[in-house]
Symmetry: C2
Subunit: 442 residues, 2 copies
């Protein structure tokens, strides 16, 4: 019988293989687009893992059929991670422990939905509603611009892409044309942020909004909302400051346009992948900021990737706590269990080791492509962001395979993968080992 | 009354200021060398923090008097960190806890030396003996090459530089001329490795070697010896593979020379700073490897820097342990206390945040110098390594000040600094906070 981490790992593996088969169907690619099998595997993985890295422009290399397939796969991948994330976050969230099934049941019943299937139905309906609202707003711009049929298609495509943090775009001329358009930019940002919060936090906020007495904001909601808000603020402010005069990015825009574009580029690295300015023209400092924001990512159980906001908050909080000589980590009047602190360290360590080894392998296989470009690409793939310094199409097949594996591992999470495929421990639980205090650390 | 972390932070701050004053003395710089106050502050910090980054060639820009001052400051800085590291590692090693003074006393008496002052004397004598042995070996090459006086001077200078992981060199023509010279290369490597093991591990190994029954290898010794050995092996093998054909590094050397130079370049990033090939000609993959090795660094309480081998080993071991579903981290039959695991996470988090913010500030102040070069320089300074892609002399004054602070914080360690200057916690220890289990991590 499969355990939750194994189920997630297996479902996304099968999903990737099925998606690759679908992208081999006739009529998927545009005439003249030469996409090999590895390109299709890469694109299929990018879609199902809602990453958005592409070896060729999605709007040009794929037919309408191919585009619908890609955004459909992204929608399936997004719904899958929202469902798994919501259902299993409490199981996989710490160590796998089946006594916590009951705990999950309590959570679900605490949501007043009366059952897991109902919860899944609510997630599906809620997602569709959010995307429909986003598509309606986008249609206000796209229908006048492209006509009714094409305008609606573009609106739906980009609403799905944004809410799922999928990073695919097929708009002729690129998303960059809307850098100064508050309607399109803010709608996309709103969808990206909501998708990156995850279902439970959105639901908790909504219920708290309508019934503040009955439904309080959970500690997890507060922690992730605060962290998300701070990261958006810091990201926007630093990009604004660093790119203000840069002729390749914000330079040509008037001040309101600079602000809007800085906000969009502050939102997108965690983990949307759409961009309204040419990322590759940014200063090195901004690129490093984007890399850091990508690495941190969005919320657990959301459509975003990265080590997750709560992981980052707990690491920083715990470090600060230890420095101040405090015994326990307190967040909003609640004690954070030490096992969560150790788990935050484990998640980050495994993520960092995964990024480091993949980056090293990419550098070794693609020595001409340069340090910055490949580091950006590696973190973008691992955190399922999909931003690129126009590098992806230059990477050779071994490199694309490395990134394919990385997108998969980044999507299911290195801890889930490691737990899923590790052998059961042989360590006798009855054996007591004497403690070793005299290990110097740091 | 000062606590140990405050004492270390203050001693190295005063040491840096005194060293800066000394490097302003007349007759320190060679005629024609235009070194401003910030250059002297930078060089003084680099010496006292035994980093080895230089804004100008030490052999050319400084008179013999200046050179002796610099290597003397490095020797003082090295002895200081060996002494503090050995004495206070157990105090600072975990949370500052004065009941552990007794624990330290037990350690000291366990060494059979009968007192702290005796221990300091032993450290001094042992260091001098190791450096004298190294100098004697180096003199076998340097005296025939440079004559008696100059040869002895070069031998003593480089023995001190290598054992203290100081990274300064004044040999005419550079250390690169000895890339194929086993005598010089292996002597320097031996001194670097010994210095990077730290005093307690060396002493433990020596006593175990002479009286294996009476003195067992401690868990800390085994852990750090194993980690050091693995890192040296992996570093050497990967550099050999990546640089074998590179015409700018190992390419022109015959196979034995390639092996020797790969070993030297595998040893030096943790944290010596001397190099026998042109690091700036290495492939991007090798540069990233060096960055990773620099970040990991050498042992606690040694002349090396970085997050430390034991921190790295505990992080990786703990992550693997958690993945395997094991409850306790066991090393060599002993249980590693959870507080050490949390501390390893704290050390690494603070180090990573320090490197990230300094790198970001360097990129913002020196936008023309490039991502790779500045990342390499930042990690080199933070881990007190001293390797550079020939970038240091191009960095402007604000950048040099950032690196100066970074060398200082890297030397005393971000945790020591943070503990030393943080306010005492106001958190009531009597207050019990309810636990919060429902925080999703990763
Ligand atoms: K994405
Ligand atoms: K050094």
């Amino acid at each position: 019988r499969l355990q939750p981490p194994q189920l997630i790992a297996l479902v996304y593996l099968l999903g990737t293989l099925l998606a690759t088969a679908l992208l081999h169907l006739p009529g998927v690619t545009a005439p003249g687009a030469a996409l090999g099998s590895i390109d299709r595997l890469f694109t299929a993985t990018s879609a199902i893992c809602i990453t958005g890295l592409v070896v060729a422009d999605t709007g040009e290399a794929f037919t309408r059929f191919g585009q619908v397939l890609i955004i459909g796969l992204a929608q399936v991948g997004g719904l899958g991670i929202l469902t798994f994330g919501t259902l299993f976050a409490f199981l996989v969230g710490r160590r796998v422990n089946f006594s916590e099934r009951q705990h999950l049941a309590q959570q679900v019943s605490a949501l007043d939905v009366g059952g897991v299937l109902s919860l899944i139905r609510i997630i599906f309906l809620y997602t569709l509603a959010a995307e429909a609202a986003g598509a309606a707003l986008l249609a206000l711009r796209f229908v006048p611009q492209f006509g009714l049929g094409e305008g609606l298609y573009q609106a739906v495509f980009h609403a799905i892409s944004a809410y799922n943090n999928a990073g695919f775009s097929v708009v002729p001329g690129g998303v960059g044309q809307y850098a100064q358009d508050p309607l399109v930019s803010l709608t996309l940002c709103g969808l990206i942020i909501l998708g990156g919060l995850g279902f439970l936090v959105q639901l908790n906020v909504l219920m708290h909004f309508f019934q503040p007495r009955r439904h309080r904001l959970t500690v997890y909601s507060r922690l992730t909302l605060l962290t998300t808000g701070l990261l958006l603020l810091v990201g926007t402010a630093l990009i604004l400051a660093l790119e203000w005069d840069n002729p390749e990015t914000l330079g040509p825009l008037p001040p309101p346009g600079k602000l809007l574009a800085a906000f969009f580029q502050g939102v997108t690295p965690r983990s949307a992948g759409l961009a309204t300015v040419d990322i590759s023209g940014m200063t090195s400092a901004s690129l490093f900021l984007l890399i850091a924001l990508m690495f941190i990512g969005a919320n657990s159980g959301s459509t975003g990737g990265g080590i997750k906001t709560s992981t980052f908050a707990i690491l920083v909080g715990s470090a600060w706590n230890m420095v101040r000589g405090r015994g326990e980590l307190i967040a909003f009047g609640r004690r954070v269990e030490p096992e969560n602190v150790v788990r935050a360290g484990t998640v980050t360590t495994l993520y960092a080791l995964l990024v480091a080894t993949s980056f090293f392998a990419l550098l070794a296989t693609n020595p001409k492509l340069g340090f910055t470009h490949l580091l950006f690409e590696t973190v973008s793939a691992a955190a399922t962001v999909g931003l690129s310094l126009n590098t992806t199409h230059l990477i050779n097949d071994p490199g694309l395979l490395i990134l394919t594996v990385l997108m998969y591992l980044g999507r299911i999470g290195p801890v889930t993968f490691a737990v899923a495929f590790s052998l059961r421990s042989q360590q006798g639980r009855g054996v007591k080992y004497p403690p070793e205090r005299d290990i110097l650390v740091g």
